[in-house]
């Protein structure tokens, strides 16, 4: 076991990005120390099956406990970060839903597994429509890394040959579609809306996580030491060299102050925690971009709720309904010929075969129960996921007046959606309604009202990469312009997000940056 003097790289965070950094670096013989703010969870010990009536609030949840985590319920409330222990602030009229997990493996233990590649519609978005900035890399630069990441996470999907959603190294999904899905697809096709199978990481066993797919291999090399319960407070810099030389952290249980030393520091603590750490350390801010351009995908989880009439009253025979699909971006794809009154586009996923929630029916009592019995297993529902534009004015800063339970100043958010997102949402809702009507489904509900920013848990952009040190925090290798042995490998490096879920891109960027860092260490350039 190396002593505390021996670490080449100190990695903050153990989720998708930190885990991939450890996976890549340790295989090249680099000694790594990984700190994570949360515990090493024993999934057998920390969870148990319980009847809902044994919960204190009958499953309705502890009122007011996690006001920003719409995903929380009374069963899983303890898996999310306690907002009282680690708070944040925002204007009451402009809420931000910062959804966090602190445990080994991070959010990769719970993600929805939707696995997509970005394309040059994102990497070179400015060239396409003039808004914002291009990434300093293209799809061709990242493709070799997607090619390596997808087999690790065992991504299933169907190849389509679409430019806006590049194919990957898939476990081929050739499962048959139900009659309901075929009708949905046929109706979409008439409207020139493409549909494919969901692209999803199948993982291994119960997880598709850093915890089971990355960290075990890294530990196997003998080059990784993991210290959980370590809340990073500040990155330390050598005054003589200007280089990062370690991290001050707080032991979670005892609140003891500790210091870990290394030759290089890699941040993979999640977009906003990495940004917070840089801001609290006074690093990475020379360009003025740090903390700015916070964006994500807006979500509308019930963009449409419809019902297949032929399946009602128990008539949904085998093969009639079930399964779903994914609609990639299909708007504004031809350069110089915008086809909507907004920039960029949205994606949607849909599923069939559930039961519409009682809230969609203006009934109660026996009448409601009778209706629900009739509609059981007949639902078609869809989620809208739209690209929010990266705008300078959407940003986080440090609120020096508020600290968390560890004495660390918290983030203040100033983020809101604008007309581009609202117009996009309306277009998506109308498209879904049109598809459902065309397929002969009864539309019970359709909405263009999105959740507050942050809900998607796809926050990116606050340490954007670029070719110009005056406009970006990181160079094209996820290396900070200001401190050359400090890297940020999570979603904060994104320049644009597209409507695709970001995890495959985060993993690929982290692998690419880590290979670069390994080479820099080997050649003693760092």
């Amino acid at each position: 076991m190396p002593t505390q003097q021996d670490y080449d790289v100190l990695i903050i965070g153990s989720g998708a990005s930190g885990g991939m950094a450890a996976y890549t670096l340790t295989k090249k013989g680099i000694k790594c120390l990984m700190l994570d703010a949360g515990p090493n969870v024993d999934f057998q010990r920390e969870r148990a099956l319980k009847p809902v009536y044994d919960l204190p609030y009958r499953g309705l949840g502890d009122p007011g406990r996690l006001p920003h985590v719409i995903q929380a319920n009374e069963f899983n409330a303890n898996q999310w970060v306690d907002e009282k222990q680690v708070p944040y602030t925002h204007d009451s009229k402009e809420p931000y839903n910062w959804v966090r997990v602190r445990m080994l493996g991070g959010k990769s233990n719970f993600w929805a597994r939707m696995s997509f590649r970005l394309s040059d519609f994102e990497f070179k978005a400015k060239d396409h429509d003039g808004f914002g900035e291009n990434w300093p890399i293209s799809y061709a630069d990242l493709k070799p890394y997607y090619d390596q990441v997808e087999p690790i996470f065992r991504v299933a999907g169907r190849k389509e040959g679409w430019a806006q959603l590049p194919d990957g190294i898939f476990l081929e999904d050739d499962s048959p579609d139900s009659e309901c899905v075929k009708r949905f697809n046929a109706s979409a096709t008439k409207l020139n809306v493409p549909v494919t199978k969901m692209r999803r990481a199948t993982g291994k066993g119960p997880l598709a996580s850093s915890l089971n797919l990355l960290l075990p291999d890294a530990l196997e090399t003998g080059n990784l030491t993991i210290v959980p319960d370590s809340v990073a407070r500040e990155i330390s810099v050598d005054k003589n060299t200007g280089l990062a030389n370690g991290v001050h952290f707080v032991e979670r249980h005892s609140k003891r102050e500790m210091f870990a030393k290394a030759r290089c520091v890699v941040l993979g603590a999640s977009c906003l925690e990495s940004t917070r750490l840089l801001l609290n350390s006074g690093l990475g801010g020379a360009s003025g971009a740090l903390g700015h351009y916070l964006h994500d995908q807006f979500y509308i989880t019930q963009g449409v709720m419809a019902s297949m009439p032929e399946a009602r009253d128990g008539k949904g025979k085998r093969g009639m309904i079930g399964g779903g699909g994914y609609i990639p971006r299909f708007t504004n794809l031809i350069k110089g010929k915008p086809d909507r009154d907004f920039l960029r586009g949205y994606a949607m996923d849909f599923s069939t075969g559930g039961t519409p929630d009682a809230k969609y029916f203006p009934q109660y009592g026996a009448e409601l129960e009778k209706t629900l019995a009739s509609y059981r297993g007949t639902a078609i529902s869809a989620t809208i996921m739209g690209e929010a534009l990266a705008r300078y004015e959407n940003h986080v800063t440090i609120n020096k007046n508020v600290s968390d339970a560890f004495g660390i100043p918290v983030l203040n958010f100033q983020v809101k959606y604008t007309d581009n997102e609202f117009k996009m949402a309306l277009d998506a809702k109308n498209t879904l309604e049109e598809i459902c009507h065309g397929a002969g489904f009864d539309v019970l509900h359709a909405s263009d009202k999105m959740y507050p920013p942050g809900y998607s848990i796809h926050e990116v952009g606050t340490c954007r990469m670029g070719d110009d040190p005056k406009k970006s925090v990181l160079n094209k290798w996820n290396q900070t312009w200001d401190v050359k042995n400090l890297f940020v490998v999570d979603g904060s490096s994104f320049v644009t997000s597209g409507p695709q879920n970001p995890t495959m891109t985060i993993l690929s960027l982290s692998m690419r940056a880590s290979e670069y860092l390994a080479e820099q260490l080997r050649t003693k350039a760092i």
Partner: protein, 221 residues
């Protein structure tokens, strides 16, 4: 690291197994060691496989099964209206438990009382409006209306759900009440047990969080 893992493993072993493990690594006895006269066998307090170390599991009940909650939040008039409304939204009938069987009004007095003020206001304003409109229309409080009178009173304010909460305070209240009275009923012990005993029921009619069983996360250590 390995040293710590070893101790963690040792701690995890039952005492009996740990002792057996120690026996396994003892050096073989030599001929020069005198053989002691065997002592009488010690009394047995538990079986050799460690099962005697199991802790007892005592069957208990929740407080709702053995006692009555003390009401503290709603006024008597509001509570009476809530009770009447709960029975209207989730009536007892057939073999399934209704809201009153599941003691939903008592639960909501606690639950709403613990909620943020804006949520409390939705309930108190809504219940006051029910009583006000009932008195205006029928000259008696909502609690005293029969089913058809109560249904006629709330009919204009019962609407399908939307993301945007209704501006009408009664409609807003009824949207919340319809959802929470139903959930609190279907998630009750009374409802689950009744649903599980229905002919053809497969482990309960409710879903994962509606009368069913879920994977609960304990507070992380």
């Amino acid at each position: 690291m390995k040293r710590r893992r070893f101790f963690q493993s040792a701690i995890a072993l039952p005492v009996g197994s740990a002792l057996l493990a120690q026996e396994a690594v003892k050096p073989a006895s030599t001929a020069s060691v005198p053989v002691a006269t065997p002592h009488p066998a010690p009394p047995t307090y538990g079986s050799a496989n460690g099962s005697g170390m199991e802790y007892p599991k005592i069957e208990t009940e929740g407080p709702d099964q053995a006692s009555t909650p003390v009401l503290h939040f709603f006024s008597p008039a509001q509570y009476a209206a809530l009770k009447r409304l709960s029975d209207l939204l989730m009536p007892s009938g057939g073999e399934l438990a209704g809201a009153l069987d599941a003691r939903v009004p008592e639960f909501l007095d606690f639950y709403v009382g613990k909620s943020p003020v804006d949520r409390q206001d939705i309930y108190t304003a809504g219940l006051d409006l029910l009583n006000h409109q009932s008195t205006q229309k029928y000259r008696k409080p909502f609690a005293d209306l029969n089913d058809s009178e109560a249904a006629a009173l709330i009919a204009p304010a019962v609407r399908p759900w939307n993301y945007v909460a209704p501006a009408d305070p009664l409609a807003h209240f009824l949207e919340e009440a319809r959802r929470e009275v139903r959930a609190a009923t279907m998630n009750s012990r009374e409802y689950l047990h009744a649903a599980a005993s229905e002919p053809g029921a497969r482990g309960g009619r409710g879903g994962r969080r509606q009368g069913g069983v879920g994977l609960y996360w304990y507070p992380l250590d």
